[in-house]
Amino acid sequence: MSTVATVPAGAPADAARHVRVVSRKAPVAFAVVTGLFALLLLLAPREGDTLFRFSSGTEVLSLPDAAVPGMVTAWVCTAIAAAVTAAAFTLLAAGRRVPLVLTLALALALLVGFLAWAGAGSSRDFSVARLVGGSILLAVPIVFGALGGVIGERVGVVNIAIEGQLLAGAFCAAVASSLTNSPVVGVVAAVLAGALVALVLGLFTITYRVNQVIVGVVLNVLVIGLTSFLYTQVLVPGAAELNQTERFGPVAIPVLSAVPVLGPALFEQSVLVYLMYLAVPAVWFAMFRTRWGLRLRAVGEHPKAADTVGIKVPRTRYRTLLIAGGIVGIGGAFYTVVSVSSFGEEMTAGAGFIALAAVIFGKWDPVRAALAALLFGFASNLEGALSVVGAPVPSQFMLMLPYVVTILAVAGLVGRSRPPAASGEPYTKE
């Protein structure tokens, strides 16, 4: 699908046409989105200026706030988006694929334009620092969940139980952290909880070769049932000792947190957020640049071949799955040792399913999946920011927006995504 430019001259005409059809999707999607936005501006014009606030008071160099005329900015952004679309069509005509940068540029242009439109005439401002910082906070569990999901599927085990692992992690982190008054112990407990769920998943899918989707779905229900039951029976009566966690406070990184605009948003966060910054490249490196990663991917793509060259398929799957479960567990700990200081029933509220969507959206690549997770975090955060400025759209539509965008993106940009070949297949040694 990505080899657009290299169609040999002598190739049959239908092959060339097939390639064209596949690659035309991105420019068309760009045009549709830009057109829709222009339509919105035409149908619902708004008066007044939009305030963007860039400083949060703690940086070395603070930029002044910017008040821009709302509609003009929105139209300028539309023009930029149209230019990007035109560039995409030019690339298409030249037979080249649309790079990711162009997509990001379009998304940014439309986003700024949308904010300018929505905030026009409001006396409140958009704090860029708050927009970014809040998005990252909301994305943390999804990123960890998506990383675990990517690793699991790359080794050949579909992990629908991300939700359960997050919830188990949150629960165990709450209890352990409350008992010991140490958030670090909470995170360790969450890692173990996530790995324990992964162990059960592995036991049933690898050893007993039960359908992986079944086990994943059922494990979610099991963990929801267990944690809710224990919450009502044990945590509520003993809330003081068992459900009152010690939380991680924000830690400012000396130099980086003083960077203007984004410094405080990115580098005045809790330890788990920094762990996330490290985890994404670490997982990418481990998966694509180490022997461990090569073996893992071999087992996920072609277990028989891996077995033939002496890689122990079940053992590799078990070990990798446990690591993945531990990573998801960290995301679960985020709920109870960073976000809030107590566990609540079903507090993950579907984040595991969003992470699952991020895995597929990110095409089973750790970095792309993490970016997709960030997008979801940003989208959930946007609603809060827009309600502050009193956006002209009913809040339900704002809340709906990220999911609509995801569908458009999945249908328009991602298209037919190919999972690792042996993902979901139990392996039976011949």
Partner: protein, 457 residues
């Protein structure tokens, strides 16, 4: 993922009972040998051994068959639930403090906690032993069937998609959209009784079908993964319904600030089946019809055959001349319609006094478990949904009378599905004989061993 839905279980249909029970192992064993060779091996095994192998063989089949496994799974799950109840019970904890001086107290406390909980579950789900007359005593059973009604329809929808290799997580959204459409017709349109109810049902079913159809259409045309799209559609439906419910003039009840609809008109409500004593409504009959319809569709119709073929192997189906994208769209339409029926029975049968955005009551996700427990077969879904309905009805009574949180029901339910899906584990726990092909299914080694044994015999 989409290529390996739980529908890989070739033998998951109830329509072929004559298969030897060894196939029960193959049902969840994607890589197990094909039924044909299993049967051959069964014969091979039957032909060896003592002079008259029939009775030992029959016994072996009985205890290694799927029924024994199912019963074993339920026993294990109930045991797991008992442990949870015993561990968290106040009286048990107090008594266990002096366990070594008077162990009887602890055991007694465990007995009364666990026994009381399950007795209450039974009382709330099947037969109220404390009732004065049989008509009142049977009421819990009717409650269970009422709770099962939407689960049956929703489970069918998920199961049908499974059979075509699609994972429909979007039950919640489809139920919500259907509830909105059926509800709007139910209170906003004036018509005489059967017509009005049928109109509302059609509206609901069509809405659910279209909502799921979006996912099918996107999958067929652009290849967008149905798991993502259906999850996203859940959220869109939820917020969309929230908007409709919060906006006067749309779905919100006039003169109210609550995000709830007005009550359904009497002419749209599904009447009680067995009189006002029981809340079982006409929707139960409709979902039974749906069960028959889905059975016919899957086992007797060309379209259903296409669904199954696409689910088993889309590449082979395409080569055989089937229109895979078309099948994808059609199966999602039908599946969404079934989930729409679930939403309709909720609105017109269960919660007729006006509903909020929680009308789906988790049925969309329960339906996945129901479909899995029912092995994606219509009759299996029927049985699984009735079991889950019974748990739901009994669980609330248990919570009210014994103080055991209703979530224990979720634990027991999920354990049942988990154990049923792994027959070798259940057999190992109960020391039931493992059927021959399962052990030798590992490959040529097992077969070689068997051959050697035959030679030595």
């Amino acid at each position: 993922m989409s290529t390996t839905g739980p529908d890989d279980r070739r033998t998951g249909r109830p329509a072929d009972p004559p298969q030897p029970p060894q196939d029960a192992a193959g049902e969840v064993e994607v890589d197990a040998a094909t039924p044909g060779t299993e049967r051959a091996r069964g014969l091979e095994r039957a032909s060896q051994g003592p002079a008259d192998p029939r009775w030992p063989d029959a016994f072996a089949r009985m205890v290694s068959g799927s029924w024994a496994v199912s019963i074993g799974a339920v026993v294990l799950a109930v045991l797991g639930g008992s442990i949870m109840i015993a561990l968290t019970d106040e009286a048990v904890r107090e008594a266990s403090a002096y366990f070594f001086s008077r162990p009887g107290d602890t055991l007694g406390a465990i007995g009364s906690a666990v026994g009381g909980a399950y007795a209450a579950l039974f009382r709330g789900a099947v037969w109220d032993v404390r009732a004065d007359d049989a008509a009142t005593a049977i009421r819990p059973l009717m409650n269970s069937l009422t709770y099962a009604t939407p689960l049956i329809a929703a489970g069918l929808g998920v199961a049908l998609a499974f059979r075509a290799g699609l994972f429909n997580i979007g039950g919640q959204g489809q139920i919500l959209v259907a509830a909105a459409a059926a509800g709007w017709v139910g209170f906003g349109v004036d018509a005489p009784w059967p017509l009005h109810m049928l109109l509302a049902m059609v509206a609901g079913i069509a809405a659910g079908a279209l909502w799921a159809g979006i996912a099918g259409l996107l999958k067929a045309t652009t290849g967008a993964h149905e798991v993502i799209v259906t999850i996203m559609l859940n959220y869109i439906a939820f917020y969309g319904l929230s908007y409709l419910l919060a906006t006067p003039g749309l779905l919100q009840a006039p003169g109210s600030a609550n995000p709830r609809t007005p009550a359904m008109q009497d002419s749209a409500i599904m009447p009680d089946l067995l009189g006002p004593r029981y809340n079982l409504h006409l929707g139960f009959v409709f979902v039974l019809i749906a069960v028959a319809f889905v059975w016919w569709l899957l086992n007797r119709s060309t379209l259903g055959f296409t669904f199954r073929a696409v689910g088993e192997n889309p590449a082979a189906a395409r080569v055989a001349g089937m229109d895979v994208p078309r099948a994808t769209v059609s199966v999602m339409l039908v599946a969404g319609g079934l989930l729409g029926l679930a939403g309709t029975t909720q609105v017109l049968g269960q919660v007729t006094t006006g509903f909020g955005s929680d009308i789906d009551a988790g049925i969309g996700f329960d339906a996945i478990t129901v479909a899995l427990l029912g092995r994606s077969a219509p009759l299996g879904v029927l049985a699984a949904a009735i079991l889950f309905g019974a748990f739901k009805a009994g669980g609330s009574v248990m919570q009210a009378s014994e103080g055991v949180p209703i979530e224990i029901v979720l634990v027991v339910q999920s354990l049942i599905v988990l154990f049923i899906a792994a027959p070798p584990l259940v057999r190992a726990v109960f020391r039931l004989p493992q059927p021959g092909p399962r052990q030798s299914g590992r490959g040529a080694g097992g077969r070689a061993r068997r051959t050697r044994k035959e030679v030595s015999a």
